[in-house]
Amino acid sequence: MSEKIKEYPGERIKTADLRAGIVPLIKYKPEAKYAWSAGIAMSKFLEELKNGRILASVCKKCNRIVVPPRVFCEMCFKPIDGYTYVKDTGRVNTYSISYIAADASRVKEPTIVAVIELDGASPGIGILHVLGEVKPEEVKFGMRVKAVWKPPEQREGAITDIKYFKPIREGEM
């Protein structure tokens, strides 16, 4: 604001008036539904999740193995050189303990979300997922984790075919 301006427009609706429903409000709830084609690269990726494998794409020019896979490299803008598998183990790059759902409502049990750098992918290449079989206070940066898959018959070709990643305890692979 400027000193030269004495009054600023804007009228706040009182919360009590909103709650009492005495302010004219027009309500609407969209019912639009969508079905997305997963595309060339990601269709392969989702098919491989059903097999319990994580597909990556390879760019030899940029020397990168990346997840999720893509048909072109966004760095050199050339077609990729092919696909490969990466491991279903990796390290926690960063994490958060979430007490809210997607609509901002509170949840009772927190969700532990993380970016996980997968073994076999290039350094720094991670995916978003959730952690399980671990208490919030036990999660550490750099912690080794492994995917816990749904049983094969329950997999549907979705990122949720991995239920979560769990810590690799001492003595485990």
Binding site: E11, S96, S98, I100, A102, D103, A104, V113
Partner: protein, 388 residues
């Protein structure tokens, strides 16, 4: 490659920022536009072209908001465009207005930014759910705060930053906002208040975050010969920059906002700025979360990587410090109607450089100011540099 003509800001206006404003988006646009025109000493008929910025359509619940808001932005029968780059929209709208005039196409341009987030209920956060990748992210129940919490935590981890240091930003900005007549959440709070507030997604807590807001802001731009006729103290746009990084955000190291650096480099080069901390007198840095002010100071090269928390704790970024950051009160204090919030920052720099900011005025007659915004999936930066 840069614009051939100088472009001046000659007027600015804004509405109150509040949750649940009674005015429609169109009415808010009209209020802010009218004020900016009055301050510039122009009528709508004097305006050659109009640029409008507004962020996701899902907040207003009206698809193609550019058309919906056009009348409120004074666009009837004029060259008009709507721009949208997520949270970066507010500052980018000013950049788009700049090229309308710098190119020689127009002598005057009305630049308007609007957001009405409170229409989406129970919470606009759910509208944000639809910005995420439908294959890799949405099935996991992703929220916008998740990804910022992941970025904040990574930033804290890499540099060993404490929450106490970051909370200082919320304390400063909400206090600065006490002097802003449009502010939604001005407050005297302490670091302890921030640390004791409700945990949303650790490390993000309630007082780390800006509110749901409605509001509009506008500026009037003019070519040099028009500006000289209308005012003795035009504020010149000397540099603009914008850049986007890859949408594969889990493939990037979130500890540093490279996209902001790219945008800043473009703007600094245009403005001939070699040493940003020395040459920038006042900056409005995008602060929808307290850590983002620090993160963005580093991306803007206003300090070294990891150094922003220390400067904040030492008081360097206070209004009377060596490098005042967000003297307006920022998004944390004034409010965050997305596009309008970015434009509010441009307005603040205009008022600061004109010496009109009243109780918020940064001492020492600031001559060079910067405003910056950030958006999309933690990947977009927009920067504007202004001089009096």
């Amino acid at each position: 490659m840069f614009g051939k003509r100088r472009v001046a800001v000659i007027g600015a206006g804004m509405t109150l920022f509040r949750r649940n404003l009674k005015e429609t988006g169109k009415e808010l646009c009209w209020e802010a536009s009218k004020m900016a025109l009055e301050q510039a000493g122009l009528e709508l008929r004097d305006i050659d072209g109009v640029v409008l910025g507004t962020a996701p359509d899902a907040f207003d619940g009206v698809h193609m908001k550019g058309e919906y808001l056009a009348d409120g932005a004074g666009a009837r029968k004029k060259p008009y465009m709507r721009v949208f780059v997520g949270g970066g929209t507010g500052v980018f709208t000013a950049n788009a207005g700049w090229w309308h005039v710098a190119s020689g196409l127009f002598d005057t341009c009305l630049v308007v930014a609007e957001e009405k987030m409170s229409s989406c209920f129970p919470h606009p956060a759910y509208a944000f759910h639809t910005i995420f990748d439908p294959i890799m992210a949405r099935p996991l129940g992703v929220t916008l705060i998740w990804i910022f919490a992941l970025e904040m935590h990574r930033y804290m981890h890499v540099h060993g930053i404490k929450k106490e240091e970051i909370a200082q930003v919320a304390v400063k900005n909400k206090r600065n906002a006490l002097d802003h007549p449009c502010a939604q959440l001005p407050a005297k709070i302490t670091v302890e208040d921030v640390l004791n507030s409700e945990v949303l997604c650790w490390p993000v807590q309630r007082l780390d975050i800006s509110p749901t807001s409605d509001g509009a802001a506008a500026i009037v731009l003019a070519s040099e010969h028009v500006a000289r006729q209308l005012t003795d103290n035009p504020v010149w746009i000397e540099g603009v920059g914008w850049a986007i990084d890859s949408t594969y955000w889990t493939n990037r190291d979130l500890y540093y906002p490279k996209y902001v650096e790219c945008a800043a480099k473009m703007a600094y080069k245009m403005a001939g700025i070699k040493n940003p901390p020395k040459e920038i007198d006042v900056a409005e840095v995008y602060d929808p979360f307290d850590y983002k002010e620090l993160h963005h100071m580093e991306g803007l090269r206003l300090c070294k990587k990891g150094e922003a928390p220390k400067l904040t704790v030492e008081g360097v970024t206070e209004r009377d410090g060596d490098l005042p950051i967000n003297p307006s009160g920022g998004l944390l204090g004034v409010g965050n109607p997305i596009a309008a919030a970015g434009m509010m920052k441009v307005c603040e720099i205009f008022w600061q450089l004109r010496g009109e900011a009243g109780k918020r005025q940064v001492p020492g007659d600031p001559r060079t100011g910067l405003a910056q915004a950030w958006g999309d999936l933690m990947q977009y930066g927009s920067v504007i540099i202004m001089r009096s």
